[in-house]
């Protein structure tokens, strides 16, 4: 097994620390728009990063093969590509593969080779379907067993683009102005070490879940040990990774609604619960009693996104900034209001969410589906 810890955490610290700027836009009507606005927004917060990491997640960018798993893989050596592709060929029938379109830019030095693969839903060699678990296993295998290869995006109809550099340079490098998506999330990173490793930038991704994160979680040690009980291996040693796994455990495996998962990560104080209704208190107390080890303590703001949904959440005493805004069908989340105003000067509503209060943007279509499901279940 290769030592991914060493790439991402060369000094073997407890965890990799970084501060950051975050920006997210979603058009809840599902209309796709180019990456220009998100780049403009995150660029306005240039000083929140230090050139050692920038990245983007874009949803709805591969409408022509929306049911295919899109793998974005970075290779440090030609051999890593050979090994990974050999592994792909034995496991899957690929629909297509091509190098990710990039642009040579002055500020991006020595990028790894980036290749994109599409795996169709019936593309498994030994099974008649490809599912999330199979994709997760594949990602884990490549990331932890093939030297020099790293899958940094593995969802359907979405893609992550990230690397070492300022976000605006990363965007230019990946030619994000040429993509159109209905939801964009961006991240500019200010790490306190200098790993210079492209995989360490945000967003952190597994399947179609992405997490961008600003903060240092002081409960990291126990969050990680709790997740390890449920079989997660925290090899990246970043706060972001535990947020991503916590959401995966709570939402995908334990089927909690995302707003309930938010209450696990940033729960109400015991005293606040005394003032809540019996039903609400019963739930909140049980959540904290059961998942107390997943409480994210210390300063953080995260944007967690997956297909059709984007959530902004800050820690319960609001130690890191988050501003939310809406304009018609657009929902914005940002570390700073100025970045939103730059993209969209006239807003319907701008607010600073309370600590621990999630801001959730959903595709209207998804909302309707949920409403239908609710009607069906009560009928």
């Amino acid at each position: 097994m290769k030592n991914i810890e060493q790439w991402n955490n060369p000094y073997n610290e407890d965890k990799v620390i970084a501060a950051c700027g975050l920006f997210g836009i979603m058009d809840t009507s599902g209309r796709a728009f180019s990456g220009q606005d998100v780049v403009k927004g995150i660029t306005n917060m240039h000083d929140r990063s230090n050139g050692l990491g920038g990245g983007f997640a874009a949803y709805g960018i591969y409408p022509d093969c929306s049911d295919h798993y899109a793998f974005h893989v970075m290779y440090l050596t030609p051999r890593a590509r050979e090994e990974t592709e050999a592994f792909f060929t034995t496991s899957f029938r690929l629909a297509s593969s091509q190098e990710l379109p990039t642009r040579k830019t002055k500020n991006i030095v020595d990028p790894p080779l980036m290749v994109r693969y599409f795996i169709p839903p019936d593309g498994a060699r030994n099974m008649d379907f490809v599912d999330d678990d199979c994709v997760t296993r594949t990602v884990m295998h490549i990331n932890y067993c093939i030297e020099g290869a790293f899958v940094f995006s593995s969802g359907k109809n979405m893609g992550v683009f990230k690397g070492v550099g300022y976000p605006e340079d990363i965007a230019n490098f990946f030619r994000l102005d040429e993509y159109c998506g209905y939801m964009w999330v961006a991240h500019g990173r200010f790490p306190t070490n200098t790993p210079g490793w492209w995989g360490g930038a945000h967003p952190f991704n597994i399947l179609d879940w992405t997490v961008v994160h600003n903060g240092e979680i002081s409960s990291y040690g126990i969050n990680r040990r709790f997740l390890e009980m449920y079989g997660y291996r925290c090899t990246m040693q970043t706060d972001t990774e535990v947020v991503a796994y916590a959401v995966d455990l709570l939402v995908r495996k334990h089927h909690l609604p995302i707003e309930v998962a938010a209450r696990v990560m940033a729960p109400p104080f015991w005293e606040e619960m005394q003032r809540q209704s019996d039903k609400e208190r019963a739930l909140n107390m049980a959540l904290r009693q059961t998942y107390g080890s997943l409480l994210m303590n210390g300063p953080f703001t995260v944007i967690v996104a997956h297909q059709g949904e984007m959530m902004g959440l800050g820690d319960r005493i609001r130690l890191r900034p988050l501003t939310a805004a809406t304009k018609d069908d657009l929902v914005f989340l940002s570390s700073e209001e100025s970045a939103i105003r730059l993209v969209c000067p006239e807003l319907d509503r701008v607010w600073t969410p309370m600590g621990g209060e999630p801001v959730i943007a959903r595709l209207k279509e998804k909302r309707e589906q949920e409403a239908m499901a609710a009607v069906r279940s009560t009928a």
């Binding site: 002081s218 040690g221 040990r225 049980a286 009693q289 303590n297």
Partner: protein, 477 residues
């Protein structure tokens, strides 16, 4: 003069002076504390044997005593030998720059902890956003410090009352020990852990009903592997009634529970107690920390216990054979770390709360224990020190000059339950403030974010193996 229950001071009428038999002095400081003129000072008697690094005074004197009596040597309090104290080799973290420390004077800081089994996952109705899972009974404590088992009979009723009232005022729990609960204290039931030990002294349905938590005592850190011994002299009428034994008889609890010869027998007792109380109370199992505690703890969790109490090498006692106290068991720091790690490796840490006991001296020991993986800690010696104890190790004599570890009606009046309660409440308040300060420094505002969070600990002066068992990194690493 009358303060000394060990007969050090006497008045010589002939010479009209007070004389002292200093060889009787146990160093309890009662006389020095109460001397109105401050005339008494107590110093170590310099009478020494010929210097010998191997045959030290203690070894020689123990042999002399045994040659005289032909009996086991008894002692009180916890192990006083110079084994490593791991607490003192662990240092805590604090936030600087990248993460703001939290000021407990200005921000909320939460110490509330719930003892009891937690499920592996919750089911929530997604539409109604309503809880569907029924949780096992959860007992809240406002400070992660419980008063450990001190049985009525070993300690006086005034001590029991002080502990019960302080637990009740502070929002924590006190433990009856194996001697039952005096009816006068039933009103503190919601803050009481009722113990069921191998002698079953004082165990009856009402006793189980009145407690908040039931604890099965398998072992005790001061004397792993052996039962309790309350000498008949301490069994007064009240003690006898509470223990349900004849007055003046020795209360000897057997070494094992004679209905528990194996783990499945323990499961039966756990469920018998749960049935008897209609599944309304968590059941705790207390064991002494021994070599294979991790495997035992895993078995206990699987046997259905809601709480595991681990009592380490330094755990205290009212009376124990000296050889056992000083040589049997392992340090709580190591046992706690290995039990927490094992339960996590097996994915069952959520099923039990873990309470660490045995030698917790300060709020920093509490914080370190929680970072190693404890949900809460038990204190006994520290609580008694708050009541006046000076750790003179004479508990087994029944002559405690501070009136704590005695049932002598005159001596036990020396503990006033009003003052005792206040001092214990003060101690827990002071520790809470200190714990909050340490948490805030680490950038944490809820105790559950420290629990098992060993990244906030670093080791100094420990070997690689010690660090590995503790699951802690070397300072500077």
């Amino acid at each position: 003069m009358s303060q000394c229950s060990f007969k050090v001071h006497a008045y010589d009428e002939h010479d009209d002076r007070v004389c002292s038999a200093s060889e009787n002095c146990v160093g309890c400081h009662r006389c020095a504390t109460f001397c109105p003129t401050g005339a008494i000072s107590i110093r170590h008697n310099p009478l020494e044997y010929r210097n010998n690094e191997y045959w030290k005074a203690e070894a020689i004197e123990d042999i002399i005593k045994q040659a005289e009596t032909g009996g086991m040597l008894l002692t009180g309090m916890g192990n006083d030998k110079p084994y490593p104290i791991y607490w003192d080799h662990l240092v805590l973290n604090a936030s600087q720059v990248t993460n703001p420390s939290i000021d407990p004077l200005r921000e909320p800081m939460e110490l509330r902890t719930f003892l009891g089994a937690k499920p592996d996952m919750l089911q929530v109705d997604p539409q109604a956003v309503e809880l569907k899972t029924l949780l096992a009974p959860q007992v809240p404590i406002e400070v992660p410090v419980l008063f450990s088992a001190l049985s009525y009979g070993a300690v006086s009723l005034n001590v029991h009352e002080s502990l019960a009232r302080a637990a009740s005022e502070t929002g924590t729990l006190f433990n009856t020990g194996e001697g039952g609960l005096h009816r006068k204290l039933y009103k503190y039931g919601p803050n009481t852990i009722v113990q069921v030990a191998s002698g079953r002294f004082g165990v009856h349905p009402e006793y189980l009903d009145v407690g908040r938590v039931i604890e099965i005592k398998i072992g005790q850190g001061a004397k792993p592997g052996i039962g309790g011994h309350l000498p008949g002299e301490k069994v007064s009428a009240d003690v006898a009634a509470t223990r349900m034994i004849p007055k003046g008889t020795d209360a000897l609890s057997p070494a094992p529970h004679h209905d528990i010869y194996s783990i499945e027998d323990l499961a039966q007792l756990i469920y018998a107690l749960k049935e008897a109380t209609n599944y309304t109370k968590p059941v705790s199992v207390k064991i002494a920390a021994v070599h294979n505690s991790a495997a035992i703890a895993s078995g206990i969790a699987r046997a259905g216990a809601d709480i595991i109490a681990l009592d380490g090498l330094r755990g205290s006692t009212g009376a124990a054979p000296k050889v056992i106290r000083d040589n049997v068991g392992i340090p709580i720091e190591l046992a706690l770390a290995s039990v927490d790690t094992r339960l996590r490796q097996e994915g069952i840490r959520n099923r039990v709360s873990l309470v660490a006991a045995g030698g917790i001296r300060s709020s920093s020991d509490v914080v370190k224990a929680i970072a190693l993986g404890a949900d809460a800690v038990y204190i006994a010696t520290a609580a008694l020190v708050a009541l006046g104890c000076r750790v003179c190790q004479q508990c087994h004599t029944g002559k405690c000059a501070w009136g704590i570890c005695t049932t002598d009606p005159i001596l036990s009046k020396r503990v006033n339950p009003d003052i005792g309660t206040r001092r214990l409440v003060n101690l827990l308040r002071a520790w809470s403030l200190e714990i909050k300060d340490m948490l805030g420094g680490m950038g944490i505002n809820a105790l559950e974010s420290l629990r098992g969070n060993r990244l906030h600990l670093r080791g100094v002066g420990l070997t690689d193996t010690e660090l590995a068992v503790l699951g802690v990194r070397m300072a500077g690493d």
